[in-house]
Structure formats: structure tokens, C-alpha cells
Symmetry: D3
Subunit: 147 residues, 6 copies
């Protein structure tokens, strides 16, 4: 047959975590929403039309981290202990940092990255009426801890 086993099986495989030990796991991630200095000024002046940009982005990020297994097809459902999202306001960017912790069988870097990504998307949505030049950059894992 010209039909390979890979094709008959389909092309997606979830990792079996059944035999991994439960451990305390933490992952941290970061990223930037780059924008114009006028956008940062409007943010500082609380003058953006959709409201309190940072709190809305933080809520969106926390909620998305809890649903990472719905967004990323081969991720496991994980009961997170905490999701933290913080922002540093720079001159032409908002720096986003997340930290996610869980007691379980697999790492939580995808949850930390999802939190940063959805925070960045929500910041973009909150600011897009005043800035058409924004860009999301530098999303990466900064730390993984297993205890």
C-alpha cells in the first residue's frame, strides 16, 4: 500500500503523563507590546477609550491560562495553583511578565506563554483605537522550576 502507518494513524500524538510523579512546578514567561510613546502617555493618563487597560489584560491573561488545554490541542488539563501577571510601563512598550504554578505531572510553560500572549492581545485591543503601529515581540520562557 502507498498509505503509510503515519497517515492511517493521523499526525497528532499527545504525550502520556500517567507515569510521571506529581511535583510542584512553576514557569515564568515574558513578552512586549511595542507601541508609540503617545499610547504610553494616554495609558498613564487613563485616557484610553476602552478603560483600565492593565486590569482588563490581566484578567484576560489569567482566564486564558486556565484554559490553555482548550487553546493548544495537545496540552493536558491542569489545575493551576496561581497565575500572576505583571506589567512594566516602558517608554515605547508595555513589558508583560507571567508566573504560573501547579502541583502535577507536567510543566506549565505553555500556560505561562499563553498568559503573556493573551495579555498582549488584550492590550492591543484596548489601545488599537489610538495606535495602528503596535507589534507583539519577544514572547519567551524565562524560568522553569520543578520541586
Amino acid at each position: 500500500s502507498d498509505f503509510s502507518h503515519l497517515d492511517a494513524a493521523g499526525g497528532a500524538r499527545m504525550v502520556n503523563v500517567g507515569h510521571k510523579p506529581e511535583q510542584q512546578r512553576t514557569a515564568k514567561a515574558e513578552g512586549w507590546l511595542r507601541c508609540r510613546p503617545e499610547t504610553i502617555s494616554a495609558l498613564r493618563a487613563r485616557a484610553l477609550p476602552k478603560g483600565d487597560v492593565l486590569t482588563v489584560a490581566q484578567i484576560a491573561a489569567i482566564q486564558a491560562a486556565k484554559r490553555t488545554d482548550e487553546l493548544i490541542p495537545l496540552c493536558h488539563s491542569l489545575p493551576l495553583n496561581v497565575v500572576e501577571v505583571e506589567f512594566d510601563i516602558e517608554d515605547t512598550a508595555i513589558h508583560i511578565r507571567s508566573s504560573v504554578s501547579m502541583t502535577g505531572k507536567t510543566g506549565v510553560e505553555m500556560e505561562a506563554l499563553t498568559a503573556v500572549s493573551v495579555a498582549a492581545l488584550t492590550l492591543y485591543d484596548m489601545c488599537k483605537a489610538v495606535d495602528k503601529t503596535m507589534q507583539i515581540d519577544g514572547i519567551r520562557v524565562t524560568e522553569k522550576i520543578k520541586q
Copy 2:
């Protein structure tokens, strides 16, 4: 800077439950959908246009309790052991009672309150073709148990 740490961090904080012990936890809640006596008569006569009001409300409540972490932004994802929803038919109200149990690190009163609230909303939806005067009242926690 006139930009406080609270603002830069955003305004939402999830509680870290990582160091709490796993315990058997139960919470109970109640509430009322107040309505006209004719609505209660139609309910008893199974004459409401959308069907079996109580079973539909019960299913909606159980499903919502399982998704409390999606509805309430800072709630944790919790694997519930059971959700129970019961109704007492009064003369001008439906009394809703819920009980939720779980083995885990944090209480389940929000799950019990969510079950009552969504049961009340669904009862409202099932009865609204015949009653424009309904009101949801008295939603509160009646008991919390930790073992």
C-alpha cells in the same frame, strides 16, 4: 513617577493555593425565584411552553457549577465530586438549594452560589413567556464544611 505600583501591576490578584492541604470540602447555598401564583400553577400543571422547567434548570446549574472557573475570573479550576440541586415549590416562589463537594485545596462556595444563580436564571428563562414580574432573591451560602 505618578504611576503607582498597583496600576503597573494591574488590579487583579489570584490567591495562591499551592501550599494548602487537600481536604474534603462541601458548600451549600440557596436562593429564590419569586413569581406569580399563576406561574406556580402552570409549573405544577406542566403547562409551561419550554417544557420540564425543573430538570432543565437542574442540568444548567450542574453544568455551570463545573465551569465556575470560567465564569468568575479569579476562581481556581476544581474537579468537583458532586453537584446537587433541589427545588421546593412555594406559593409564589421556587426555592433553590445546591450542595457541592470536592476534595481539594480551596472552598467551593462560589460553585454552590453559581449553581443556584444559573438555576434561577434558567427557571426565569423557562417561565418568562407567562410571567413578566419575576425576581431572583436571597442567594447566599448556608453552610461550609471542611474535613
Copy 3:
């Protein structure tokens, strides 16, 4: 047979909106989270442990209104034009008001009631560390407009 047609058909019926005209529809609802005066003081002082109570509740309410069809089994999926949620801080309560608008074939009062209910639940969650006496009351539709 002792098995009626109703039973064989099951007990839930969705209303067919296929022949209704598309209209501009608005519904408004309200409700209260009753609490201790000390809780209101902590809210005004921004001293509640989970953060910016009102914005988090507002976001939760807007998101829940958009998903009313998932929460309430026989509701239709409706593309909302806007969801507004406002709060009035009273001496021993937070008064919640919502307004929902849509261009479509069926009313949006369930969406307005869902927004108020989930705002109340989220306020409860944000304040429950400091107040065990809270109660959700008076959730009702205050206005329905069809143009």
C-alpha cells in the same frame, strides 16, 4: 401505553425564531450584592485582597453576557452590539445595573440578567475573604425596548 408523547419527546423545547423579524432590541436589568458597611469601606479604600473589585466584576459580566447561550440551555446564540455594566456604591450594598443591545430576532433580557448575576457572583468572590454575610438580591428586568 403508559408512556406519554411528552416523555418520549423529552421535556425541553427551544422556541423557533426563524420567522421573527430582525429588530434593534435592548434590555436592562439590576440587582444588589448586600454586604457589611466595613466591606464597602474596604472597597472604597481599595483594600480588598483580590484587587480592583469593580473592574473584575464588570469584565466577568460582559464575558458572561456574550456566553448566555452556553449557560442557559434554551437560549439562542446572539451577536450582541454592546454590554454595559455599572455599579452604585451604597452604604451596605453594591447596586449593579446592566444594559444589553442587539440587532436580531429575540429579546436580550436573559443576557442582561446574566450580566447582573455574574457581576454579583464575582463581587462576592472578590469580597468573601472579609465578609461572610453577603447576599445577592433583587435581580430583575427593569426595561425592555424593541425598535
Copy 4:
């Protein structure tokens, strides 16, 4: 009163799994999408208009298995260790097999059946432009293991 306790309580009961032990549980299921031989030829030739039929169906099945508790009202939320979905291409059918494993308090046969059902529905969707005669058949549990 002619209003029985069953009615007043509503008609749905979730099983309480609080006192069950945590065990390693596996369930396997199977089913078939029956179709015309020309559809199988188009599949083998990768000539179906929506693309890589098997991988898309596999992803849909894995994602649905993780959300079984949202689809089936009285199912518990379960953190799955792995979901596997495989296909055998027959002359006039695609044979679908799933295997689901979890460490927890209740069996996972509903998750295995949901994976097969949603795989079958997705295969149907991917092939329906070229075949109006398809039928989903023989969905059943083939094995349950508890360790």
C-alpha cells in the same frame, strides 16, 4: 399534593465520587464512518477539499475528550493522562479507535466514546462535499481497565 418529590427535585442526579479511590483507569472505544469507495480513494490520494482529514479528526477527537464534562451534563471533570485516536482505512469505511487513560475516581469510557464520536463527525465534515451517503455506526466500548 399531586406534585411528587421527584418532580420537585428535578430529574437529574450526578453520582458522588467523593469516597471512591484514585485509580489508574483506561477505556477504549471504536466506531466506523461508512462511506463510498470513491471517498476512500480521494482520502488516499489526499484529494479531499478540506485537507488532511485524519489529522484534523484526530485533533478534534482529542480536544473533545478533554471537554467531555461540558458535553455530557452529568459527567465529572477529569484530568486525562493521554488520549490516543487511530484510524484504519477500510474499503468502504474508516475504522476509528480511541484509548483514554486517567488517574482518578471514575471511569473514562464516556471520554473514549466522545473521542470516537467527534472523530466520526469531523471525518463526515471533511468528506461531505464528495459523499452524501455516509453513516456513523458501531460506536461502542471495547475495553475497560482499572489498576
Copy 5:
């Protein structure tokens, strides 16, 4: 390069419905849950442990039909006008029939098939404590209407 365009593009394509006219569309589907005669007797006697089997299955089916676009990756989000689910109790099976209507740009047969499939899964879940021999069969589209 040995890396084809198909691979670089990935293997999934959604159909663009942007230029299709809005039409009134209806699809009907059917299927069977085959079971032992004793299971039918228990259903008729309302003696099944999880409660009102048919209403719970009907609700699950209606809710799943509304979320077909989440379950089947390449389906469009469609605002359904109505979902109807009915059951015929046979000697060794429950016959499930669905009808789904919508005003829009694409057919709703996947929604009708999803309703039948999730009804069958829910019936299975409600009956599985008393019957280990059940099988889901004969899921197919019975009618498509476009006006």
C-alpha cells in the same frame, strides 16, 4: 526542496462562505442507541439511577448543536433559529431524531448530526450503570432543505 507547498501551508482549509447568499436552511438527522430490553423497561419505569434520561439527553443535544463550531474544527459559527430533538422508544433501542434550522450562508447538517451524536452519548451515560452492551448506530442525515 522536498518540502511541498501543501506541507508548508498545513493540511486544513476552511471553506469561504463570504459570497454565499443568506438562505433559510434546515437539516434533519437520526441515529439509534441500541440497548437491552431491560434497559428500555427501566427507562419506561423511570428507574434509571441518574434520573430523567430523555430530558437530560435533549438538553445536552441542544447545547452541543449550538457549539458545533467548537467541536468540529472547520465548521462555521452559526446562529441557529431552533434545534429540536425527539426520541422514539423501541424494544431494544432509543431512536433519536433531530431537526436544526438557521438563516445563513451554509448548511446545518453537521449541527443536526452533532445533536444526534451528543444525545446518544448522553443516553449512554445515563444508562451505563445498568447496561454494558450498548452501541450507537445509524447516525445519518435524513433531509436537507434550502429555501
Copy 6:
């Protein structure tokens, strides 16, 4: 009172699109997953442990675009006509491009950006077993069309 109107109202405002005309709208976005050259080689050789990386990422992106209103709190629910996601394999990156179209009252750039972001996260998840150095960069809108 020291309690401003903004605080009493909460800090989030959804834009009312009720008076905007329905138009054909398209938005395109792009971004990169930067990785090691060995990761690109493994991708080309189909040697990555979780399977067909590009198709899985494409499906995840299409599904996330359809749910943008759930991820980003103040976005409207929009019935998309089509979501397209394509990849270009570069020496040390995967270039992701999305295009989203809809007939409706508001733009779809957030949907296009969400598709790119979730594609990037899924690619990251599929490759992370072999590469700890990856970074997501350059996510931006490349085109907006309104007809």
C-alpha cells in the same frame, strides 16, 4: 465623595457597534516563531515527537480565531466567513500568516492576530521537546480591508 464616577462604573467599556453598517471586512496578520536550525530540520524530516506540527497549529489557530470574543474580553462575537493560516519555513524561524474575513459591523484584526498568536503557541508546544530557545516575535497586522 473621594469615590470617582470612573471607579463606581468600573474600568471597562465595550464599544457599541449597533449603528455601524454591515460591511465585508478582511484583516491579515503575521508573526514568527524563531527557533534553532536543528528544529527546522526535524520539522522538515517530520521527526518531531508530537506529530504533524503545521496542521495541528493551523487547526488550533482556526479554532481560536472563532473564539476571539471569549479570549479578549471587550471583543464582539463575530460569525467569520473564513480563517486562513499559512506557514513559510525559514532557516531559523516559522513565518505565520493569517487572513480572516467577515460580513459585519466591526473589524477582524483581533481575530487575525489571535490566529497568529495561537498558531505560534501551538508550534512552540509541538517543538518544545527538542528546542528550549524558541521565541515568538513580530506579531502585527499587515492589512485591513473594508468593502
